[in-house]
Structure formats: structure tokens, C-alpha cells
């Protein structure tokens, strides 16, 4: 049992998915890759990652190089126009991608590691230790993050990308740890964990090989959420000018636009593209998370039928019933057998 749980790909999840052994086709392609939303999100994210890596080399201009073309609209030589110093906005956004992605990645990795450490520990040890760790997470969640981040970052002597990522990681782990604790609590009482304990496996082995593989989907989803949080917060901090303005990021572009009355001058090319870039990155991350959610909670997906197909077949979607047709393309799972045990409610 432990083997079959542990050896799955990164998308292996709950024990309920184990009956997928009867479906060879499903084995060939991980479930997440059959989800349209998740694939769209991953492709979009991939483009951003590529731009982040090669950005400084493909940018047509030096983002700091001023020229005589002051505040020009988009044209052939300046794809997204220029700012008040004649700097190329397109290059600023391309070069800024790296900062945004780096902060998101570092903050996401550290925060997720913290969330796993705190959440799984709290769920496993129970008792007073659990109370203290959970209270810590809840306190961090209730205190508004942005003002807290602002008072920390603004009092630091220098706030480069690394510092910002660290501060975001230490203020952003609480949500993930809450989800992971709830899931660990529910896993801890499952039969296979009891069996492992009864057969004398060490706690370390139970945590690493029995519990963590079953938390993969929630860890992935909380990582994605943290990256989203970090990207939005980093942009906001750069926009209000708390972080160092010499590091290019999308927020820095917006900071210059706002402080030079881009709005009143009607220079839409100055502030629209950076926002669209943030929105697209956010949408790509959200789509991946939708995919993971539907993977974890099969009730959220429709059994392979989209609304138009349903209407054509004369099915009126109703509550409480999942339309399953004999010849319908059944996606991901067969019928609803075993699905009811899926932990859907993770709040306590």
C-alpha cells in the first residue's frame, strides 16, 4: 500500500484515486494533464518562466537608457511606447519579469516549506503543541498582511528582491499550514496510517512516506496560492515605492507611471501592459489551482460534459445528481464509486 501511494508522480493523491489501476489509459497521462484549465495555466506560466530567464537578452533596449523620444505611444521602434525619460516600456516589462518571478518563486518555496513543517507537525503531534502552532497561524492570518509587510520592509535599510521575498515568505505561510493541518488530521485517522503504526513503522517514515505523498495536491495548491500572493504583494510594494526602485519589476513600471501622472497625460501604454502582465500571470496560476481543486474534489468537475453538450442531450443540470450517461465520455474517474470519501471540507 505504501509503495503504491509513494511511487506515483507528483499528482498522486488520495487513497480514493487508487482504483485508477483499472484504467490503463489514465495511468499513461497524469490526471492533471487531462484537465483543460490546468494545461492552459501551465502553458501560460511556462511562457512567463521563459521570459523571466531570457528576458534581459531579448529586451530590445536597456530599460534604464533614456532617449529623446519622450512619452511616445506604441510604434514599430517602441512596441509599448516610452516613458517620461524616453525609456522603452516594453523592455522594462520584459526585464522586470525576472524580478517578479524570482520573488514569487523564492517566497513560494520558503513559505510552502514553512507551511508543511508547521501544518503537518501540528496535525501530527496534536494537544498543546497543536494549539500553539494553530493559534500562531491564525494570528498571522487575521492580522492584515500588507500593513505588516510595509512596516517591516520600510524600516529595513535596503529592500531588494531577496529581502522582500523573505518577508513575504514569513508572512504568507499561514494559509497553507492551516489547510495542511486539517488534511493531516483527517489522514492521521485513516486505516492505512493506523496499519503502518501498528506494524511498527517509525514516525519519521509514516510522516515522509505515508502522509506527505497524500498531501501532494494540497501542498501544490498552497504553493501556487502563495506564489500568487507574493506576486501581487511584491507588485503592490514596488508600486507604492517601499522597495528599491532600481530593481525593475512590473510594480516599478507602475510606480513611475503613477508618480509621473501617466493617467492625466493619457499615457495608457505606460500603465496598462504591466497590469495585464500581472493579470495574465495571476490567471495562469489560478487556472492551475482550479485544475488541482477539481482533481482533489471530483464533485467540482462535470462528468466530462460541458454545458453545451448537456443542453444538446437535453439534460438540465440539477443539484444532487451527477449526470452520467452510458456512452458519455467519462473523464478521470468511473462513476461516483468511492468518491464520497474525498475530503472536501478542510475547514476543521
Amino acid at each position: 500500500m505504501a509503495e503504491s501511494l509513494g511511487t506515483g508522480s507528483s499528482t498522486s493523491l488520495a487513497p480514493v484515486e487508487l482504483d485508477s489501476a483499472s484504467r490503463p489509459a489514465a495511468r499513461a497521462r497524469p490526471a492533471l494533464l487531462r484537465n483543460g484549465k490546468a494545461v492552459t495555466g501551465m502553458v501560460m506560466l511556462g511562457i512567463f518562466v521563459v521570459v523571466a530567464v531570457i528576458g534581459p537578452w531579448i529586451a530590445p533596449y536597456d530599460p534604464n537608457a533614456s532617449s529623446a523620444d519622450l512619452l511616445l505611444g506604441p510604434s514599430g521602434s517602441h512596441l509599448l511606447g516610452t516613458d517620461h525619460l524616453g525609456r522603452d516600456v516594453f523592455s522594462q516589462i520584459i526585464v522586470g519579469t525576472r524580478g517578479v518571478m524570482l520573488v514569487g518563486l523564492i517566497a513560494g518555496v520558503i513559505a510552502t516549506a514553512l507551511a508543511v513543517a508547521v501544518g503537518v507537525t501540528a496535525g501530527f503531534i496534536g494537544g498543546a503543541g497543536d494549539e500553539v502552532l494553530s493559534a500562531l497561524a491564525r494570528i498571522l492570518l487575521v492580522i492584515p498582511a500588507l500593513p505588516l509587510i510595509i512596516i517591516i520592509v520600510s524600516q529595513l535599510p535596503s529592500a531588494g528582491n531577496m529581502v522582500v521575498a523573505l518577508v513575504l515568505a514569513f508572512t504568507g505561510w499561514a494559509w497553507g499550514s492551516r489547510l495542511l493541518r486539517a488534511q493531516t488530521l483527517s489522514l492521521r485517522r485513516r486505516d492505512f496510517i493506523e496499519a503502518a503504526r501498528a506494524s511498527g513503522e517509525s514516525t519519521r517514515r509514516i510522516v515522509w512516506f505515508e502522509t506527505l505523498p497524500n498531501l501532494t495536491a494540497i501542498i501544490a495548491s498552497s504553493f501556487i496560492s502563495t506564489v500568487t500572493f507574493a506576486v501581487l504583494s511584491q507588485t503592490t510594494l514596488a508600486f507604492i515605492g517601499v522597495t528599491s526602485i532600481s530593481d525593475w519589476s512590473w510594480g516599478t513600471v507602475l510606480y513611475w507611471a503613477q508618480s509621473n501622472q501617466a493617467l492625466a497625460r493619457g499615457a495608457w501604454w505606460w500603465f496598462v501592459p504591466a497590469g495585464v502582465a500581472i493579470a495574465l500571470l495571476g490567471v495562469s496560476l489560478t487556472l492551475i489551482n482550479f485544475g488541482i481543486d477539481e482533481f482533489v474534489n471530483p464533485r467540482l468537475r462535470l462528468a466530462g460534459l460541458n454545458p453545451r453538450q448537456m443542453r444538446r442531450r437535453g439534460i438540465r443540470p440539477r443539484i444532487g445528481f451527477t449526470a452520467v450517461l452510458r456512452d458519455a465520455p467519462v473523464e478521470g474517474y468511473s462513476g461516483t464509486k468511492g468518491v464520497h470519501t474525498t475530503p472536501t471540507e478542510v475547514d476543521q
Binding site: V142, P144, I151, T236, Q258, G266, L281
Partner: protein, 326 residues
């Protein structure tokens, strides 16, 4: 009311944590922020202010940390948050009390509309799953993926610059005298319209999505099927059986999402130059006004805690199980 007592206990601990964080941060930071400030304000600070600065930042070498901590609590409990630099020598508490009503009014109304409206839309989308209303989801997802402030910038560009129907910013028309007159109230509403709509647009999607997912989960419960089999009207099943149960996690999620909404709103005030607490916060950042920043952090946290207590009372009203224990 064991439930409420537990929650109140938690909020007290959180309030203590917020004050303690506020005490620790300036002391844990490298460097001497006070000295750099004194240098910046060469000779313009009175010795009194310099001393209060040192006390506030815990760099008063004569007292040990523990005594400083108790002194800090004494100050907080007396409502003394120190003196502001930007508005020197106005006390921080006075600066905050002038701007707080603006923020509370704007965020309060916008949040209530967003929660109630978002939950209702979520109920409908969850109920009519698979129909055209599912198309609302991608739109709201997009709006929640952009930072609030950028949506504000676009709103200003569209409705105040390109098509000037609403004011670009500010809390009210500069020519009016604040008071309970029709002209003034009308002007306040007019100025609040654009920020409020932007806040609602960016925060509503979370509520819709949460409610929709809970509805989808709850509607597969047996009691909903039974209610429907009994032949109860669709509306009664939807609101009396499904939505009533689906709303509970939504209410407990309120506590955790409010901090996020408030954070977004603070930046919104900067974009709209709205005379609230967020705008003061950014002036404080610009002027390196640490006492004002920290005072604002405390007040925002306390306000969020109060809103949470209110949400808990609503929870008790909605969920009979929490009342049973008494």
C-alpha cells in the same frame, strides 16, 4: 456561549500579538532609525520629541527591554501612539481619528455589498451548475487576479479622464464645507462611487467562488435530495436547505479574507487620493514617519478584529449548533 468566549479569547491574544509585533519590529531592525531621523530634521525636533522618539523605538538605553515593554503598553492603553513626523507635532492618534471614518465607511459598505452579493451569486451559480451562469467565473477570476490598485488606475483612466463623469480622486468636492448638508453628502457619495465599485469588482470573485464550491458540495448531501423529493419549492430547497449550510464556511472564511481586502483597499486609497487611513499610511511611508505607520498598523488590526467579532455574532445566529452548548 462557549463558542463566543473562545473566539473572544483568540482575538485578545491576536491583539496582544499585534501590539507586541509593533513593539519588537523597530527594536529588531538593524541600524538606528531615530538617529537618521534626527539628522534629517536637523535642529527642527524639540528635545521632547527626540526623547519620545527614543522611548518609542526602545533606544532609550537607560531602561531595560522589559520596562520599555510595560511602558509601551501603558502608552497604548492611554491611546497615546506617539507624535507624527509628517504632521509634526500632531499626535498620531489625532491624525488617525481624522481619517479612520473615511476608510471604515468606504471599506465597510463595499465589503458588505461584496460579501452579500458574492454569496448570492455563488448560490445561483452553484445551483445552476453547468448552465450559462458558469461563464461569470472566468470574468471574476480575471478581476481577482489583478492588483486592486491597477483596476483603480484603469477605472480612473476610463471614467474620470477619458469620459469624465466621476471625479478622479479625493473624498469630497474641495469647495464644500464638511457637514450634514445634501450637497456635501452627495459629493461624498459621488467621490466614493468609483473606489467602492472597484473594491467590489476585485473582491467579489472570492466570495462567489467559495459559495459556489460549497453549494456544489452541499447539494449532493442527502438532506437536500430529501427536501427536493418531498416536493418543497425550489427556492425553499435552495435557500433554506442548501445555502444555509453552505454559508457557514463562508462566514468563517470572512475572518481570514478581511485582512486581504483591507490591504487591497489601502492601496486603492493611494490611487484615488481618498482621505482615509491608507492615504495617510503612504504619506507616512514617503516621510519615513514610523510612529504614524505603526499606529496605523495597530488601528487597522484592531478594526479587522472588531469586524471579525461582528462576523462571529452572525455565525452564532446562523448556526444553531454553536448556541446549543450553553
Amino acid at each position: 456561549m462557549k463558542f463566543l468566549a473562545r473566539r473572544l479569547g483568540f482575538y485578545l491574544v491576536t491583539a496582544w500579538a499585534a501590539v507586541t509585533i509593533n513593539f519588537i519590529i523597530p527594536r529588531a531592525m538593524p541600524g538606528d532609525p531615530v538617529q537618521s531621523l534626527i539628522n534629517r530634521y536637523q535642529g527642527q525636533l524639540s528635545t521632547d520629541a527626540v526623547h519620545s522618539l527614543y522611548v518609542l523605538f526602545g533606544l532609550d538605553k537607560n531602561t531595560d527591554l522589559w520596562t520599555q515593554y510595560w511602558q509601551y503598553w501603558g502608552q497604548i492603553l492611554h491611546g497615546n501612539l506617539g507624535l507624527s513626523f509628517v504632521f509634526f507635532p500632531t499626535p498620531v492618534s489625532q491624525v488617525i481619528s481624522q481619517s479612520l471614518p473615511w476608510t471604515v465607511g468606504l471599506v465597510g459598505v463595499a465589503t458588505i455589498i461584496s460579501v452579500v452579493g458574492g454569496s448570492l451569486i455563488g448560490v445561483l451559480i452553484g445551483w445552476r451548475r453547468g448552465s450559462w451562469v458558469d461563464g461569470i467565473l472566468p470574468v471574476t477570476t480575471f478581476f481577482s487576479s489583478v492588483p486592486y490598485f491597477w483596476l483603480g488606475l484603469i477605472a480612473i483612466a476610463a471614467f474620470a479622464v477619458t469620459w469624465p463623469v466621476l471625479p478622479t480622486g479625493g473624498g469630497y468636492d474641495g469647495g464644500l464645507v464638511p457637514g450634514w448638508t445634501w450637497a456635501f453628502v452627495g459629493s461624498v457619495v459621488q467621490h466614493a462611487l468609483l473606489p467602492a465599485v472597484t473594491i467590489i469588482m476585485s473582491s467579489i470573485s472570492g466570495w462567489i467562488l467559495g459559495m459556489r464550491n460549497m453549494m456544489v458540495t452541499v447539494t449532493s448531501e442527502d438532506y437536500v435530495t430529501v427536501a427536493q423529493a418531498k416536493g418543497l419549492s425550489e427556492r425553499r430547497v435552495m435557500f433554506g436547505y442548501a445555502a444555509r449550510n453552505a454559508i457557514l464556511p463562508q462566514m468563517s472564511g470572512f475572518a481570514l479574507s478581511l485582512g486581504f481586502v483591507v490591504s487591497g483597499t489601502l492601496v486603492m486609497e493611494l490611487v484615488f487620493s481618498y482621505p482615509g487611513i491608507g492615504f495617510q499610511l503612504f504619506q507616512a511611508i514617503g516621510g519615513k514617519d514610523y510612529p504614524l505607520m505603526q499606529g496605523i498598523f495597530l488601528i487597522i488590526t484592531f478594526s479587522v478584529l472588531l469586524a471579525n467579532i461582528a462576523a462571529d455574532f452572525v455565525y452564532v445566529l446562523l448556526d444553531p449548533r454553536t448556541r446549543q452548548e450553553s
